[in-house]
């Protein structure tokens, strides 16, 4: 019967925690390092010393709303 229209019962898949965890742990650690270098490095703490990173991302840090100096 082609004229019977039913809303397809689409089941929503879930991803088991065990399959998600390695991706999440690895990427969140990586993202934290990136955020640290862009948002806070060579302001309160400096790795490496100097101010090259601070100077280069200076405007991004201000406009993203992180405490810059």
């Amino acid at each position: 019967m082609s004229d019977i229209t039913t809303t397809p019962q689409v089941s929503i898949p879930t991803i088991p925690v065990g399959r998600l965890a390695p991706w999440t742990v690895f990427f969140v650690l990586l993202a934290t390092i990136v955020l640290f270098f862009i948002s806070a490095d060579q302001g309160a703490v400096s790795i490496p010393s100097g101010n090259a990173i601070h100077e280069w991302v200076h405007d991004g840090r201000h406009l993203l709303g992180f405490p810059c100096h």
Partner: protein, 263 residues
Amino acid sequence: MTPRAFLIRGLVAGFLASFLAFAVAYTVGEPQVDAAIAVEEANAAAAPADEPASDGHSHSHAEEDGGTEVSRQNQSTWGLLTGLVAVGTALGGVVGLAAAFAMGRLGRLTPGQSTALVTAVGFVAFWLVPFFKYPATPPAVGSGDTIGDRTLWYFVVLAISLVSAVGAVALSRRLLPRFGAYRTVLASVGGYAVVVTVTALAMPTSNELGDFPADVLWYFRLSTLFTNGVLWLGIGVILVGLIGSLHQRESLAHARREMAANL
């Protein structure tokens, strides 16, 4: 619908959204940054020559400590783009993975809907709430002596806000079967609001504005709101589109397989 599929789509969404945010930051934000630097230079010129500028900070760091100097031309274009693309892509990836976790775990929300909710919660918890307590400061505002404290406070509020937002979502998963959507959302949003309000009241307030012009400050802060709003909105809109079409494709393929199996 694998973790890999979500991560890749999140990274793509973040990367693309950061160019939208750059367009906003460059056109709306940069004039205010330049205006603030003009204020800073005027203050430095007015101060006695043998003393450093009142905030102990100058935008040409190189003059005082022999460090690297990046021209304003580079800071306002390539430097700004670097910062936004790095942060935007990293946030996009994290939002993608958070959306992967949320899929199928938030009531009957479809993958697209749960992704949209995750992005909205992310914007409020990661940016808007910390901004309400420690709003962005333009160049010329903020003392070099307190940058350590202010950075720490900012990230403490950010961490509490993020953790309590995750807690509120986890709480709502438990409440939903018993109390229904309306009361569940009311309780979890209310709980989050109470936690961050108490945190904001308990944390020290930083006010180092001095006589910085109010109009420049207002337009600068508005431009940071637009920049971050467009970044997160871009991530949300692009990622919801990508996840929605992926889900549709996979459900169709699934339905076709089922039909073939029944033949």
